[in-house]
Amino acid sequence: MLPLRSRLYTVCDPARPIPADDDVLYVDWPAQLLATDDPKSRLANSIALGAGTAQCRFVTGHRGVGKTTELLRVKAILERGDTGRRLFAPFVSAFQWIQADDIEAKAIVFVIVRQLVTDLEGVGIGFARQRWSEFLKDLWQRLTRDIDLDKATVEAGPLSLDLVLKSSAEARREFRSLLERRLPTLYDMVNDTLQQSREELRKRGFDDIVVIVDELDKIPMAILNPDLGLTNHEQIFFHNSNILRSLGCDVVYTVPIELAYSTRRQRFQADYSAEILTVPVLPLADRAGKRNDRGHDAFLDVLRRRVEQAGGTWSDVWSDELVERLCQLSGGHFRQLFLLIRSSLERGGVPITEEALAATVRRQAIDMTLPLTEGSWALLRDVHATKRRPAEERSIFDRMLRDLYVLVYEDEAGTWYDWNPLLGEAPGQ
């Protein structure tokens, strides 16, 4: 059997979302602490209540906060029919397919259709695959006619599409152009497929379809027009909203947090008639610093389950004082918590010592502050002091929010912000 240190290291892996059927590690603190504001419930209920009307819905949250974990749970809720309607819910990891320079609304629709076809085939609905293959074959023929590819690749057919697009910028440009011209055909095909699929899915006990598109929150923000301040985020979610709304079924999209918490939020919600739901950071205190006991209890529950899963006892792993320190340093952000635990395990054994944690914190604090400028520090100190978003320096604040230097919280008075607690541990702070 592996030593406890190794077992604990494995169960604290920050890279793995908890599967929807794992109730051992999973702590449903959003339901416990937020009750009716639990984003899972709100999303699932919203989809159930919107029966008959295809709508777009949006989810945001810091990276590493548990969005994918919560969305997988939403998928399970919908597929089980817990809301009273049972829904077929393909889950799309957008960047499994899209290249970085292809992040446009039409490419997103393309990957949605691709996943939908794959998942339908998985439940025995094969006609969609046939239609999709015909569509792809048509695209492939046009693509290979217009650009130079080696003979072997051409002969391999549309199955080579991913490989070709990955390796050739010219092919990607041509593909985007082709897709643009074929969009009406794609919409007709997919909506026709959806209509027919619904009939087949009803025979299998499903009431309808919803597609969940994850990872769009990772789209790096780029300024497309400095004079107008137009970003690619706005291009995708505002200017091409008709494309994102073109599917004849419910779709859930993740949204970059810096867009969701920008001054464009109201417009966003008005354009789509949909609220952006946030998967929050675990609230450990309110903006006045008053401890949230229920948040702390949930935090301890998360740790307790990990220790038990690793086959250890609480005192084998740490002291209560060390846990309190971890709680404070995590800021309620689980990926940051697991990073601190794993790094501390690397720097010492179990039980985790204060020295190992201190060395970890120092290293993390120094490294994360490498990119910060004087201007960034000034803004961060201001946010920490006021718990508010500054009136100016929008672009710096957006980056700080995106890159986890600023964390967003909610309390009874609304949204508030604070710097990442590791910043307070940087030398000189």
């Binding site: 494995t10 892996d13 920050p14 970085a100 990926r335 790094s343 690397e346 490294d367």
Partner: protein, 321 residues
């Protein structure tokens, strides 16, 4: 005005690195601890500003983890396969115990401010975890990590650990020598920016109060002055030359002193200060002659004469460019 190639020091064969400093030892133990955790993908970043230090880290990891098959890959920005493609090619059909990835800092185009390869890597982070079932350690200099954090935030957020290593003065000297290779005008703008970054971070590691560090500090400043001059950052160039000169004088390095005076003289000529230029270049000429570098003395003299011609004689009309 192009700066001619300055005299280069002979490449030195370095002795094996000294035993690790206590903090390097702590970092290395933590790194090896991470490498020998249960099999599976994990991501780590190790900061080391010196190529010789990075080599030492890898060789020490191999020595301390003898059962671990360690593979390395050095990324080539010209390779069309991209970062992940090169990592895949390095592992082939094998499953190494760990992979060290060098050269990711070269995938950033600091000059253009864009890094499409890093964008792709960041967005395809999940693919790394499915494709590479072993620890992946990116070994990079400080400026590389500084650039990576905002450009690849999803990748960065997945880290299991980070480690930082400080070089000995021998590492710094080797890095400065490497960064001083080639005339500045032979370098692409991107390369100049990268080398300047490396040298700035090396300076940050060196202690001006330590006599054994002074030569490396002076050489770093001198090279930074040349790079700044090539980038038309005249104020920075002046600062670095002015920083290098007293150190060279303090340590009695006459070649260095002459070299800085020559570069500073060229700078003054380029920015329309012929009197200052002439003074510096004549001083350089004198030293070159004294140390037997006749060819450089002639060059310095030639430039000094150019400066002389630009000087406005008393009573004559003001010089206009």
């Amino acid at each position: 005005m192009k700066l001619p190639r300055l005299p280069q020091r002979a490449a030195e064969v370095l002795p094996p690195p000294d035993p690790a400093l206590p903090d390097n030892e702590v970092e290395l133990r933590a790194l090896c601890s991470m490498l020998t955790m249960p099999p599976g993908f994990r991501l780590a970043f190790a900061r080391a500003n010196h190529p010789t230090l990075r080599d030492w880290i890898i060789s020490e990891a191999r020595r301390r983890c003898p059962r671990l098959e360690v593979t390395t890959v050095t990324l080539d920005p010209a390779e069309p396969a991209g970062i992940v493609g090169q990592m895949e090619a390095a592992s082939g059909e094998q499953s190494p115990g760990a992979m060290f990835v060098l050269g990711i800092e070269r995938m950033f185009d600091l000059h253009a401010g864009r890094s499409p390869e890093i964008d792709v890597l960041n967005l395809n982070r999940d693919y790394l975890a499915t494709r590479f079932a072993w620890p992946v350690v990116f070994l990079l200099p400080d400026f590389g990590l500084r650039e990576l954090i905002p450009h690849a935030p999803d990748l960065w957020s997945w880290r299991s650990g980070t480690y930082a290593f400080a070089g000995e003065v021998t590492h710094a000297e080797a890095t400065v020598t490497e960064a001083s290779r080639d005339g500045v005008w032979e370098l692409a703008p991107r390369e100049r920016v990268e080398r300047a970054e490396v040298l700035r971070h090396v300076l940050g590691e060196l202690d001006p109060d330590d006599p054994t560090h002074r030569e490396a500090i002076a050489r770093a400043h001198e090279r930074l002055g040349q790079l700044a001059a090539a980038a038309s950052d005249h104020a920075a160039a002046e600062h670095h030359f002015a920083s290098a000169l007293p150190i060279y004088r303090q340590i009695g390095d006459r070649l260095g002193e002459a070299s800085v005076l020559y570069g500073a003289g060229q700078l003054a000529l380029a920015i329309g200060q012929p009197a200052v230029a002439r003074q510096r270049l004549l001083a350089a000429e004198e030293i070159y002659r004294a140390i037997g570098l006749a060819e450089w003395a002639v060059r310095a003299h030639g430039l000094a004469q150019q400066a002389e011609e630009l000087l406005v004689p008393p009573g004559a009309a003001p010089y206009e460019r």
